[in-house]
């Protein structure tokens, strides 16, 4: 993996929350790591250890209190809302534990949603790509259904399809199996494995289940906001 380029790198990243009583809670402490092109890695740690916070910072949904996040050689801290929005739109794709589909849109409209926020002309046909992804994930027959009418496993497939629509460099998945039964959860991980192997898509996945984490090649262990182990 030494030859591949770095997609994202974090240097001395801290995230602090000001609590209601005026005290400061340190959710991330001095985080340092790099994600390389084509990696499939897991961030593991107990509940409340800061995994989601880390995901949000890496995915530009939140800014670190201190430290540097470098994407494509550029420091995220120096970007404005429009620039980080562009990156969220086409550089990263999110998959969440709660699926986070919009219930009032159909499956296909959900998958196409990121395309409506792209300010530049796409170099592919979004509609065709959505059809292709639905076909590939076995949800094409549900394309005009609404999210609350399909199973959890299917919803998560929709979320993965939506994350892939804009051909992102990086998929960030925050406990993607957390709301799924064992078998369905494993099917989603199968899907990730397949995307990583055959299409070389970079995936970072948060989980607190060892069994799931062991299916990735790299595990970053986090405890109380600090990385305690990284077997890269």
């Amino acid at each position: 993996m030494k030859t591949t380029s770095s997609i994202i790198s974090l240097k001395n990243v801290f995230k602090e929350y000001l609590l209601g009583d005026g005290s400061v809670f340190v959710a991330l402490k001095n985080i340092n790591f790099e994600i390389h092109q084509g990696e499939f890695s897991a961030i593991i740690g107990p509940s409340g250890s800061g995994k989601s916070t880390l995901m949000h910072v890496v995915g530009l949904l939140d800014k670190p209190s201190r430290g540097e996040i470098i994407i494509n050689g550029k420091d995220v801290a120096k970007m404005n809302d429009n620039q980080t929005s562009v990156l969220r739109n086409s550089y990263v794709g999110f998959v969440f534990q709660q699926f986070n589909l919009l219930n009032k849109l159909t499956i296909k409209e959900n998958i196409l949603l990121p395309a409506t926020y792209c300010k530049e002309k796409l170099d592919f046909d979004a509609d065709q790509r959505a059809e292709m992804l639905m076909e590939k994930f076995g949800i094409i027959s549900k394309k005009d259904s609404f999210p609350n009418k399909i199973s959890g496993g299917q919803q998560q497939r929709v979320a993965v399809a939506r994350a892939l629509l804009m051909k992102p460099q990086l998929i960030l998945a925050d406990e993607p199996t957390g709301n799924l039964d064992h078998k369905t959860g494993n099917e989603i991980i199968d899907l990730f494995e397949e995307l990583n192997k055959s299409e070389n898509i970079t995936i970072v996945m948060v989980t607190h289940e060892m069994e799931i984490a062991e299916r990735t090649r790299r595990q970053i262990r986090i405890l109380d906001g600090e990385i305690v182990n990284d077997n890269k």
Binding site: N82, S85, R88, L113
Partner: protein
């Protein structure tokens, strides 16, 4: 993305949201609907009143100059016997007759008074005039005839009755013909009944030779006004000036006024302009309330949809995208409400027109659409800004 595609996408998304929540959409728009409805109807009513008054004035002949006591219609009504001012007499009438270019000169004795027939008594107006009033005011009879110059000369006790008073005093208006009516001690023979004019005063008047009022009714032989009929509109101001010049020899400047009908109309228009403004202001309050209603619902919507905002932000929506999304919704909601209000108002106007000359004008339409979209923007911008300023991370964590 092209601006038109962006707008069409925004509208489509707003439309989709409304379709899925029809009840809320209807209730939110209702405030604006009622607001626009009341503003438009009040304007229509104002215009209607104005039309009504104008029609009444038009029934008076075209080129009419009125010589009245006091400083014009503002200080003295038709029953203008009260207060100071000139009391015109036959000498004044003779004097103004010397004005060149005059077609008619009508002395007017005018009084609100009880008029009775054999079996009824009603308050009406007694108008002591000469025969020139009839062509000047374009008076026509439905039955009987108008009295003439000789009747004035011989102080004939004859009357031409307005349609309403004839109807009030007799079983049918036509029955009045040939009957005797009484005004105080004066007994008058009805020789003609006038067509219904729509003018309240004319329709309730008994028109008699002014000479017949001389006696106990009008011992001083004075008149309330003198009407001058001018053959051509261009001569009106000349006649007016000449009348003033002549009367100033006898009266002080503030004891009389010479008004032309168009001036009265102007005053009436001014008054109705003000009434209209007041009506619009009252209606605007309900529009404002409707706007606040939209703001309330939009604020609630933002809270309700925090998670949605978070999801959209995670997928690449900028602050501007979110702002526009919420703003579009409130504007569409209020314009939708406004159009419905306008439609309802138009419907009501069409129906009410049967009885009263209410009217819709362009101002009302422009106001309805313009104001409701302005309200949508104004009251929508605060909630939309709140949605746009949500932190993406907090929004997506929102339960």
């Amino acid at each position: 993305m092209k601006i038109t595609t962006e707008i069409s996408l925004l509208l489509k998304s707003a439309w989709g949201d409304f379709r899925r929540d029809k009840v809320r959409t209807a209730l939110t728009s209702l405030g604006i609907t009622i607001g626009v409805l009341s503003v438009v109807l009040l304007i229509a009513l104002g215009l209607g009143l104005k039309n009504y008054i104008e029609q009444t004035f038009e029934s008076l002949g075209a080129n009419l100059v009125m010589v009245m006591p006091g400083s014009g219609i503002s200080s003295n009504g038709p029953a203008g016997m009260v207060g100071g001012g000139a009391e015109f007499d036959e000498k004044d009438v003779r004097d103004v007759r010397n004005i060149p270019n005059l077609k008619y000169v009508v002395p007017v004795y005018f009084r609100s008074i009880a008029i009775s027939s054999a079996d009824a008594e009603k308050i009406g107006y007694l108008m002591g005039v000469n025969e020139e009033l009839f062509p000047l005011m374009d008076v026509k009879t439905v039955t009987g005839e108008l009295w003439g110059k000789t009747d004035v000369g011989k102080k004939a006790k004859v009357a031409v009755l307005g349609y309403t008073i004839a109807d009030d005093l007799f079983e049918r208006p036509e029955d009045a013909l040939g009957k005797t009516i009484r005004v105080e001690s004066l007994r008058l023979k009805v020789v003609g009944i006038v067509e219904k004019t729509g003018d309240r005063e004319t329709d309730r008047s008994a028109m008699i030779p002014y000479t017949a009022t001389f006696g106990s009714l009008n011992p001083k032989k004075t008149f309330w006004a003198v009407y001058l009929g001018v053959p051509d509109e261009e001569m009106v101001s000349g006649v007016k000036g000449e009348a003033e010049r002549i009367l100033l020899k006898r009266y002080d400047k503030d004891e009389f006024s010479v008004t032309e009908q168009s001036e009265i109309l102007k005053t009436v228009n001014q008054i109705f302009g003000i009434i209209n403004l007041i009506l619009i202001a009252i209606g605007s309050i309900s529009l404002l309330v409707g706007g606040v209603g939209i703001m309330n619902i939009m604020y609630a919507t933002v809270t309700e949809r925090t998670r949605e905002v978070g999801i959209r932000r995670a997928l690449g929506a900028t602050k501007r995208d979110i702002l526009l999304q919420f703003l579009t919704e409130s504007v569409v909601l209020s314009v939708f409400g406004g159009l419905i209000g306008l439609l309802l108002a138009a419907l009501i106007v069409v129906i009410v027109r049967i009885w009263f000359p209410v009217a819709l004008n362009l101002l009302a339409v422009v106001l309805a659409i313009g104001v409701s979209s302005a309200i949508g923007i104004f009251f929508g911008v605060f909630p939309a800004k709140k949605a746009a300023d949500l932190s993406p991370m907090e929004a997506i964590r929102y339960e």
